[in-house]
Amino acid sequence: MKVLVPVKRVVDYNVKVRVKSDQTGVDIANVKMSMNPFDEIAVEEATRLKEKGSAAEVVAVSCGVAQCQETLRTAMAIGADRGILVQTDAELQPLAVAKILKALVEREQPQLVILGKQAIDDDANQTGQMLAALLDWPQATYASKVEVADGKVTVTREVDGGLETLALKLPAIVTTDLRLNEPRYVTLPNIMKAKKKPLDTVTPQDLGVDPAPRLKTLKVSEPPARKAGIKVADVAALVDKLKNEAKVV
């Protein structure tokens, strides 16, 4: 079984972004970029499926600028066998990415696509579900446990109030949640090995996809700031404030 894992290059988790003064977006010049954390979990899960013998090959895909190659190398250092860069400088929105991935799925014929549940830049939480819809495949989002057997994937999902388990016929789409696994530490020898793994580059046009954005961003602004309040001396003072000033207890 082949597993396809899309990975996104995003502003690193630890960077606090700043809105540009002209309100056209956030300033990502000279900030650290990394693989979207949920995508790292997806690569780890696919690699584990391969190590368990459930998967034969893991293919990582990234859509975007040339530097997404670095993200693909990271995926290959974790354990992906090869990478595909769908290179474009255009702004990519989830529907366009889903269409690109659909074209690649038709070309590569994976049985399973594992994606992060959301990217921490646009916080959209759409691509996996959209890809499932375009392919008419079943989906299991927010996975905390994935088991592949007998032409099915059984997925435990994080839902409001607890967990639920679904069985999907393969081929299928799974999106990852935090507790699915803890991605391994990438070692130097694996980073070196990853440099020699194959990386193909195609364009959205090669795949017959028009990536034009559907949503127009009119402006990006700072959220209203919350003012810091006061420090209270002790529990008694806190109770007094809550009762008599905030009147919430």
Binding site: K216, I230, K241
Partner: protein, 309 residues
């Protein structure tokens, strides 16, 4: 212009998040219909019919819709989608699961997690964990939207008198099947809609120590929450997680205990009305958003606070 709101429910009860989505629909303007897709969900349809601002309830009742499978629910929405200018889902786990499937099938963009309506085609939504607010405009013929419930005050649950219309339920897709569900049993209010929330962070130190929050939550009638760090460390279940990748809450009172205040956590709670932080580190970023900060050892302060209330 007619707007369809997809009801959040468990086949027995209409969930409050639906009423926040109806409120967003009311701001867009136009007739508001609610779709209840479920099995044995007549009571839910009756509840939806009583909600303010709703003019019609569509009830699709069938076995394939019993467990909220995305493939079937999306097909049900698509069966009626042609009649609507906007399709709104509450941004809950199930709404976020299904909405993109509907949008992709309609070949339209989805607008996720809107927090404000500027016009029928222009909306505000947080990006980068709420560190920026994007104003986006959609030129698509149908707007598929998920509504961040904390962005809109719920419409009244009572007072409406919409008609309930039964529609044909879709057949099962055969692609996926429901195996089981483990929902936490709790007498506490649901985290997303609670009036008060008591959340613990890594400062609690262990799952055992999290129990120190119980008496305080009991006194406040609060739901329990946790930071991602606490969930990652295994101190608290994932469905307690408040933050960018967990639940977004905006209670009247939010008590953050042993939480440092990473931006990803603040993203999930900074719209709370009153924020209290208890942390022994006076420099913790949580104090930058707290109305009342108490620099203290939580293991002493929390029991003392519970006793004093």
């Amino acid at each position: 212009m007619t707007i369809l709101v997809i009801a959040e429910h468990d086949n027995a009860e209409l969930k409050g998040a639906t009423l926040n989505a109806v409120a967003a629909a009311a701001q867009i303007g136009g007739d508001i219909h609610v779709l209840v897709a479920g099995s044995g969900a007549q009571a839910v349809a009756q509840q939806a019919a009583q909600a303010a601002s709703v003019s019609k309830v569509l009830l699709a009742d069938g076995a394939a819709l019993a467990d909220g499978l995305a493939e079937n629910i999306a097909a049900q929405v698509l069966a009626v989608a042609g009649n609507y200018s906007h399709i709104l889902f509450p941004a809950t786990a199930s709404g976020k699961n299904v909405a993109p499937r509907v949008a992709a099938k309609l070949d339209v963009a989805q607008i996720s997690d809107i927090t404000a309506v500027q016009s029928p085609d222009t909306f505000e939504r947080p990006i980068y964990a709420g560190n920026a607010i994007a104003t986006v405009q959609s030129a698509d013929p149908v707007k598929v939207i998920t509504v961040r419930t904390t962005g809109f005050d719920a419409v009244a649950a009572q007072g409406g008198s919409a008609a309930v219309e039964n529609i044909e339920a879709v057949a099962d897709s055969g692609l996926s099947s429901f195996v089981g569900r483990e929902l936490a049993q709790s007498d506490r209010p649901e985290l997303a809609g609670a009036r008060a929330v008591v959340s613990g962070g890594r400062g609690l130190g262990s799952a055992e120590n999290f129990k120190i929050l119980d008496p305080l939550a009991d006194k406040l009638g609060a739901a329990l929450g946790a930071s991602r760090a606490a969930v990652d460390a295994g101190y608290a279940p994932n469905d307690w997680q408040v933050g960018q990748t967990g639940k977004i809450v905006a209670p009247q009172l939010y008590v953050a205990v042993g939480i440092s205040g990473a931006i990803q956590h603040l993203a999930g709670m900074k719209d709370s009305k009153v924020i209290v932080a208890i942390n022994k580190d006076a420099e913790a970023p949580i104090f930058g958003v707290a109305d009342y900060g108490l620099v203290a050892d939580l293991f002493q302060a929390v029991p003392e606070l519970a006793a004093a209330l």
